[in-house]
């Protein structure tokens, strides 16, 4: 953000319009982020979730895939004993109860948080990286633009869930395939955003000056055009992340995502749905966890937008 060149007000999407003098920019953005209620709340909840996922082995969990027919369908907060298939018995507090195979739902939910967060981050990184590349190319090179954007239009016309489901049906439900299948439909959205930023600044005097000075094209793109796209990209990335977490859960829930024994929130719910009328918490607990996670990512995105996109602030008035 701090390297953003001063620009005129002709940029449609750029956040640079009200860019402040360089030395103050970084400090004020950091401060603004911390004092913004939305980023604080969303970021705080996310941080707690990240810690819980990272520290899962030490938070009263057992192997999330281990089954024990003897302790199936326990209600939440039951003290019981868990006997693994090899015959070892340990006393265990079933915080969220257990499913029909006797698996501990608390353990599955915490390890499931790992899957959700990893998928969210990996999809975001992949979609933003590819979308950024496509957007820069399409915005800067007029010849590529037509073809590339028609392809993007085509990808966007295919409903995201169907696209993901088809890819997984073809290549199997492994983690890399799931990440790729969720990321592809998000690429056009990122590419369009970056392209619009590039189109907005490519005629700016400082870009023309750089070209006139024989700056290599890649350097023009990276040093003079890319910085304008960073703020809108960060905002867009949070929404991609939220969508990715949601779609992964949907795929697992439908039984077409990661294998059913893998601990994911969608898989816990898929397992619990056949007994929903007796044990509704098996579906509702991971569902609420999922909703909370997606909500905090979305809220953080709204906060980032308020801080990083002054134009939107003005419009909101």
């Amino acid at each position: 953000m701090t390297t953003m060149p001063p620009t005129s007000s002709a940029i449609p999407l750029g956040p640079t319009e009200d860019a402040q003098p360089k030395p103050h920019a970084r400090r004020s953005v950091g401060k603004a982020l911390l004092s913004n209620g939305a980023t604080r709340w969303g970021g705080g909840v996310l941080l707690i979730l990240v810690f819980m996922a990272a520290l899962a082995p030490w938070l009263n969990t057992i192997d999330p895939t281990a089954i024990d027919p003897g302790s199936s369908n326990l209600l939440p907060w039951t003290h019981g004993e868990f006997t693994s298939l090899s015959g070892e018995t340990q006393s265990h507090l079933f915080v969220l109860g257990s499913d029909s195979l006797g698996r501990d739902i608390w353990s599955r939910a915490l390890y499931g948080a790992r899957v959700s967060l990893v998928v969210g981050l990996a999809v975001t990184a992949l979609a933003v990286a590819i979308g950024l590349g496509f957007g820069l190319l399409a915005g800067y090179f007029r010849r590529i633009d037509g073809v590339l954007m028609r392809v993007m239009d085509g990808v966007m016309a295919i409903p995201a869930i169907l696209f993901a489901v088809s890819l997984i049906a073809l290549f199997g439900g492994t983690l890399p395939v799931v990440v790729f299948a969720i990321a592809v439909p998000e690429i056009p959205r990122v590419a369009r955003l970056v392209r619009s930023v590039v189109l907005g600044v490519r005629e700016e005097p400082y870009v023309e000056a750089a070209i006139a000075l024989d700056t290599p094209t890649w350097l023009v793109l990276v040093r003079h055009i890319l910085p304008n796209a960073i703020a809108p990209l960060i905002i867009q990335a949070t929404y991609v992340c939220a969508t990715a977490i949601l779609v992964e859960a949907i795929l697992s829930f439908l039984g077409v995502g990661l294998p059913a024994e893998t601990a994911t929130w969608g898989n816990i719910m898929a397992e619990g749905r056949s007994q929903f009328n007796q044990y509704p918490h098996n579906v509702l607990a991971p569902g609420l966890l999922l909703a909370l996670t997606v909500l905090s990512v979305n809220v953080m995105g709204d906060g980032l937008r308020d801080v990083l996109d002054p134009k939107f602030n003005k419009r909101k008035g």
């Binding site: 239009d153 509702l284 909500l295």
Partner: protein
């Protein structure tokens, strides 16, 4: 008008071609051999070879694509691996429940979201505005299957007002049809309402700052009429646009909602097709939904002409 229509139709052609190419390539680039899937594990090599040439898999990719597209243009989506019935027939049997669910959701959403968004913009920063904005943030974040199960738990299991699952054809009576669709349509409309209410609020808020609103108020037009007639009409274009874009959300939501409520529509057909690796069927459904999406957005563009007399193509 006619010229615009033709130009707009011509513009959708490349998009449809790209969609067809992607769907075609998806199955052809997959590691699995469709012929092997058909003949099964115990087939001889000659058998496999025969099926492969019957399917046209021995020809080059461009030739295959042209032949496949040609059949597509004649409404031939191939035949299901498992039931051996034409894909178009299978889709045709499942269209009604999905169309009913999506249509009812659309009507419900527009009836709720547009007035709510307009009222929130009118009392900008008020209680309704803040409630609506928090609700829409929630609506974006709670997945349809979670809301679906919460609604089932409350209205079907605790209160027993509505059936838990299932679908009744509209031919068997309007009331049973509505009772069965009430919970799924509500579930599906939540995300969609969040989106449309948000955009309506922003568009109407902007319209309310325009000079003609002041003029209307100055000449004594009532507040209600200012809001509904003047501001909303001027904000119509972005609202119609987002209704069209939201159809993509709706299609994704249909798949999940039908699974939760055991509705025998295209969504559950998709899940079945994926679970049984029925590639021609998956291809057919994906193409079908993509074409619907493109057509809906074509209609949306036409609505601009009606909504905004300044737009002349």
């Amino acid at each position: 008008m006619v010229a615009f229509l033709l130009r707009r139709l011509a513009a959708t052609l490349p998009v449809l071609c790209v969609v067809a190419l992607i769907v075609f390539l998806m199955t052809r680039l997959s590691p699995g051999d469709p012929a092997a899937a058909i003949v099964g594990d115990n087939a001889t090599t000659e058998n496999l070879q025969r099926v492969r040439s019957n399917l046209g898999l021995t020809q080059s990719l461009p030739v295959q694509f042209v032949k496949w597209s040609w059949k597509l243009l004649h409404g031939d989506l191939g035949e299901s691996f498992f039931t051996k019935r034409p894909v178009t027939e299978l889709i045709g049997q499942r269209v009604e429940p999905t169309l009913a669910l999506a249509g009812l959701t659309l009507v419900l959403t527009v009836l709720i979201a547009v007035p709510l968004g307009a009222l929130a913009a009118w009392r900008h920063g008020g209680v309704l505005d803040r409630t609506l904005m928090s609700f829409s943030a929630l609506g974006f974040s709670i997945p349809a299957f979670v809301t679906g199960y919460c609604l089932i738990w409350l209205f079907a299991m605790k209160l027993q007002w509505l059936p838990v699952q299932g679908y009744v054809r509209i031919g068997e009576g309007l009331l049973p049809w509505l009772r069965n669709l009430a919970l799924p349509a509500t579930t599906l409309s939540i995300v969609y309402t969040a989106l449309i209410a948000r955009v309506t609020r922003a568009a109407v808020a902007e319209a309310l700052t325009e000079d003609f609103i002041r003029t209307a108020r100055a000449k004594g037009v009532g507040e209600w009429r200012v809001l509904m007639r003047h501001a909303l009409a001027s904000a119509a274009v972005p609202i119609i646009t987002v209704i069209g874009i939201g159809v993509a959300l709706l299609i994704g939501g249909v798949v999940v909602t039908e699974s939760v409520f055991a509705i025998p529509g295209l969504g559950s057909l998709t899940v079945d097709a994926v679970l049984s690796r029925d590639f021609p069927l998956i291809q057919g459904i994906t193409l079908f939904f993509s074409v619907i999406y493109v057509l809906v957005n074509l209609v949306v563009d036409l609505c601009y002409l009606v909504a905004d007399p300044r737009i002349r193509y």
